[in-house]
């Protein structure tokens, strides 16, 4: 049965998440993903460890200023960052990092107690569950095997967007496709082959047979990642397109992205949006094409920059890459005093983990491929 919001405990959330992530990564054959540019297994293993090492203190710092519910509700805006992927990475990072710690203990022949970090595990799991539940407008928590949608906008916001939509004129469909394909490629290149910044949500029933889905690309002006120099940042923070279809099959995943379940989908109406700082506004396709035009040379520059990385950084980039998912919570909460300590903690955790991460990467990836169920994927904890 799909998890619903309500009196959820940390262990319950962790268990449901483990089942859902196992289902999702097996479907995508994630353990088979490779790249000539990056050490993907190593950078991910490093990223998980950095999250494990830094997230609990960060959440305790945030808890002095805000609640997970306030964060989740504030995320219910178009073109928002954080979106679903950021809490997902918080949870994945902590709990896979925890499994890595267990595997490392095994390799080193020492004992490992699943209750030793129970307070931190409980903190992370309950924050994840509470953020996700507040983010959605229904009573589910996150997509997975049984839940295939991700509605996050209030009805009045949906209505405002729907009214702005119009039938595509001339070659707008093809032009829109080129814009978003170009920006998706930019996002994947900026985020080192991680599907960060690509956000879908919905579907939203407009009544009268229309279904609206939002497709967004955010983090376009990233100022945190060390390789995101000013000359590869784009002039806006996020862009989006609202597409209205006749009833059509859609499937949303835990990463915050969507696939249509039918091979051919017609867009009945669409409209475009831009976010600059705190302001979201309606935009023209011409404006989005200007953003895409800036993205093309930026993508090429990023590629050449990555091509020059040394072997060590092809793994070590995972530290700031994963930390980039937690920073939006800090900024959303207005907790600017937490930014520098967090960035320093990330650097320390990255350096510490680089000393041993390569010894555990292989066993961790085998664990991903062979764990039979959620209880085996993440060792359970009893919690507080």
């Amino acid at each position: 049965m799909a998890l619903t919001s309500g009196a959820l405990t940390g262990p319950e959330i962790a268990r449901e998440y483990a089942d859902a992530i196992l289902y999702t990564v097996r479907r995508e054959k994630r353990e088979a993903m490779t790249s000539p540019l990056y050490d993907l297994p190593g950078r991910s293993a490093l990223g998980f460890e950095v999250i494990r090492a830094t997230a609990p203190d960060l959440l305790r710092g945030l808890a002095r200023r805000t609640t997970p519910e306030e964060i989740g509700l504030a995320m219910r805006e178009p073109l928002m960052r954080p979106y679903l992927l950021q809490p997902f990475i918080l949870m994945e990072g902590y709990f896979v990092g925890r499994e890595q710690d267990r595997i490392r203990a095994e390799l080193e022949g020492r004992d490992w107690d699943p209750e030793a970090d129970a307070p931190d595990a409980d903190l992370v799991a309950t924050w994840y569950g509470r953020i996700c539940a507040a983010y959605r407008t229904d009573d589910h928590v996150f997509p997975g095997k049984e839940v295939k949608d991700q509605p996050v906008l209030e009805q009045d916001r949906v209505a405002e967007i729907a009214v702005a939509c119009a039938a595509p004129a001339g070659d707008e469909i093809e032009r829109s496709r080129q814009v978003f394909g170009t920006l998706e490629l930019y996002a994947l290149t900026l985020h080192g082959e991680q599907r960060d910044g690509i956000c879908d949500h919905g579907p939203y029933d407009l009544g009268g047979g229309g279904l609206l889905v939002m497709h967004e690309i955010n983090d376009l002006a990233n100022d945190y990642l060390p390789w995101s120099e000013p000359d590869v940042r784009l002039p806006v923070d996020a862009v989006g397109v609202a597409r209205v279809h006749e009833p059509v099959g859609t499937e949303f995943d835990m990463f915050g992205t969507m696939n249509y379940t039918e091979p051919s989908v017609e867009t009945r109406e669409h409209c475009f949006w831009i976010r600059e700082g705190a302001q979201i506004r309606s935009a023209t396709l011409d404006e989005l094409e200007e953003v895409a035009a800036a993205a093309r040379p930026a993508t090429a520059k990023l590629f050449k920059s990555v091509a020059g990385w040394d072997e060590r950084f092809r793994t070590a980039y995972g530290g700031p890459l994963f930390a980039n998912h937690l920073l939006p919570f800090v900024r959303l909460a207005g907790a600017t005093d937490l930014e520098s300590p967090f960035a320093e903690a990330v650097d320390v955790a990255t350096e510490a983990a680089m000393a041993w991460i390569r010894d555990t990467t292989g066993p961790v990836w085998r664990h991903f491929s062979t764990a039979r169920d959620g209880n085996e994927f993440f060792r359970p904890f009893a919690g507080s």
């Binding site: 479907r27 995508e28 054959k29 088979a32 993903m33 490779t34 790249s35 000539p36 540019l37 990056y38 093809e174 496709r177 080129q178 978003f180 394909g181 170009t182 998706e184 490629l185 994947l188 290149t189 080192g192 082959e193 599907r195 690509i198 995943d253 992205t257 696939n259 091979p263 051919s264 093309r296 993508t299 090429a300 990023l302 590629f303 050449k304 990555v306 091509a307």
Partner: protein, 117 residues
């Protein structure tokens, strides 16, 4: 050969991501960053990239200009598939080849994902 027209011998098959009308072109391969940069310099008009990397970033500078992609790994959710779908770039994933394909070979992919040479 025109796009989608079956001619020659079928030498493989794969999962059609985009390009439901079929596509044709001359094979190029890129096994390293230097290969990608070299293709970028030469130009890739009319070229179909044969690759075993389901990564989009590995070929980012040339991806939008290719005529098509044949990838021997990955699936619908692979990053290469996602970007190809968005760009409308003809793309075949999980391709299985009965014979070797060499750079310079002319190939056609039919609407059902059959690979012909």
């Amino acid at each position: 050969m025109s796009a989608g027209e079956r001619a020659g011998t079928q030498i493989g098959r794969g999962m059609v991501i985009t390009g439901g009308e079929g596509f044709s072109g001359r094979i190029a391969t890129a096994e390293s960053v230097d290969d990608v940069l070299s293709l970028l310099e030469q130009g890739v008009e009319g070229r179909v990239l044969l690759t075993d990397q389901a990564s989009a970033t590995a070929i980012a500078p040339i991806l939008p200009s290719l005529t098509g992609v044949i990838c021997t790994r990955g699936g619908q959710s692979a990053h290469l598939a996602i970007v190809s779908r968005s760009l409308g770039l003809p793309c075949l994933m999980q391709a299985e080849l009965d014979e070797e394909i060499e750079p310079g070979d002319d190939v056609t992919v039919d609407p059902e994902g059959g690979i012909w040479r």
